[in-house]
Amino acid sequence: MKQEERSALRSLPSGVPGLDAVLGGGLPEYSFNLIAGGPGSGKTTLAHQIMFANATVERPALYFTVLGEPAIKMLRYQRQFSFFDPDLAGSAIQFINLSAEVLEGDLDAVLERIVSETERAKPGIVVVDSFRTIGGQHDGTWRGTTFDLDRFVQRLAHHLTTWEVTSFLLGEYATEEQRNPVFTVADGVLWLSQATDRNSVVRKLQVVKARGRAPMPGLHTFRITDSGLQVFPRIPEQTLKRKLPKAERQPTGVPGMDEMIGGGIIAGDAVLLTGPAGSGKSTIATQFMVAGLAQGENGVIAVFEEYPEEYIARAGARNPDIAKMVKAGKLEIIYLRPLDLSVDETLFSILEAVDRIDARRVVIDSLSGFEVALAPTFREDFRESLYRLVGTLTATGVTVFMTAEVSEAFREARFTSENVSFITDEIIVQRYVEIEGALGRVMAVIKMRGSEHSHEFRRYEITPKGVVVGDSLKEYDGIITGVPTLRAKPKRAKN
């Protein structure tokens, strides 16, 4: 079948940033959906967001409230979200309470009321909140009477579909309840959950079922803010539309460093610079960014360990143009310090900034701060998370320059932290050495995919203008130990 023929299934926008991509292109029109999840998981807010994104006076949305949260309280809270337009309430969005029918215990009356209201209003969207209070227990009884839930759900789905309605049933279900008939009949099932890990709470969304669609698999984190839900897809669209990096080198802006890496960083690569505290990682990262800005390449810096103003003040001491570049919209400094971030959320913020200013360079300073900023649950799979982060960013064609702090014992060199070397194309390490009773700094290139590079340890200095790479320490042995020894000069043979 041709693609155009398959596209006949029209989609409605969910109104939730990120969700349409997860759903494989939006909500199929006239589908019968279940939004399931525990209390406080965001079901009602999600349903409201969908309604406000789609309802019109001509094709209104009907919101049936049953038992549970009183309608007045629901409206009081929902209207705090920015998507809630009070002007639409009562006209494009109509609230109808079914509690009288439900309390009577008459399921036929419930169905009849939904159908008659649908017939009257000719809505485009119908929401039943909470369906669980109608659906009762799946043991054939409801409010003391026997009833056939399968038949009720079937009839409801038939009616709503024949009235060309896209419908959403909201309910509190546990994962083991997925044999409930509503799961079978539903065309789509969205599962919302929130998990607590130590002091952090992480919300996740899963598309359990989506007939006629190829949704994005897996659990996607989401956040509820004043604007409502925002979903952060695990696989951002940018990954799916990978750009081939340009075959060019980008100067690092660090005198002597380009020479070590074969003429500059390969555009589109992921670079990791590791070193102990005070070794100049952030200084080099800033120099890399400033060098790009100087040749018209916009950039994004994600900082985790200091506020943007602090960063600008510190970096500006050596690079006075930094603040100007930020003002001019050529450089964005993203501050990501909360302790309950998800990787996808971080990635979203960076990607958004990259798109916004068409950036060519991204600095992540530092991975160590990034790891701390993540919710504990994401720290467990930090490597996998970083893999996704770096893979997605480089897929956009940007060069990613990351710093990572390594703790350093003097007699033992650690090249990278977190075992993250596999995700990078280039690794540069820094370390302290003791030479002639003084503390010195050296760096070396450990890895550079597809390019020749220096294999020497080179001394470097942190000057008022930034890092400057000097000579190699050819006359020393044991640099890697941190305490090199001067190699004895070969004695000249006596004639």
Binding site: L75, P86, G90, Q94, F95, N97
Partner: protein, 156 residues
């Protein structure tokens, strides 16, 4: 921040809320005989109860009326004889007895005050704009509002 969180500085009883209530009472037809004014006010209350129940549920609506009744009762003693009967038609009972005891004008004023309290209360809970809109939409635009107080209360 919308007005839903503004405490008691909602719809002014002297202006929008009272205005809505008066329009609602007027929509019940014109007074022709003694007792008509309070009967129209009672019919407006019945109608508001029925229409608001559609979206807040009969229990939620009854709770709103109970609170409004309690708020207005101190100022208007005739309300002491008015009964609010959840799920009954008409919703407000004891109107004729109250008219007999206090007169048509005093009873009508008391009922109007109670309804005004109710509109204000709704405004404080969900925001004046949305409360006004929902009442406008349901109580005035509804086809179910076509019956006048005579036909409805006579039916009862």
């Amino acid at each position: 921040m919308n007005s839903a969180g503004n405490g008691k500085e909602g719809l002014s009883r002297d202006r929008p809320a009272r205005e809505i209530v008066r329009r609602l009472i007027d929509s019940q037809g014109s007074a022709q005989t003694e007792g008509d004014t309070s009967a129209r006010a009672a019919a407006a209350g019945d109608h508001l109860y029925r229409e608001l129940s559609r979206w807040v549920g009969p229990d939620g609506c009854h709770a709103l009326f109970i609170r409004a009744h309690a708020d207005a009762r101190n100022e208007f003693p005739p309300l002491g004889q008015i009964q609010l009967r959840a799920g009954s038609e008409p919703y407000m009972g004891g109107v004729a007895e109250t008219v007999a005891a206090y007169g048509d004008t005093a009873t009508a004023k008391a009922l109007e005050s109670m309804l005004t309290h109710l509109v204000e209360l709704l405004g404080r809970l969900i925001g004046d704009d949305m409360a006004t809109k929902l009442i406008e939409q349901s109580a005035f635009a509804s086809k179910r509002a076509n019956l006048t107080f005579h036909s409805k209360r006579e039916k009862a």
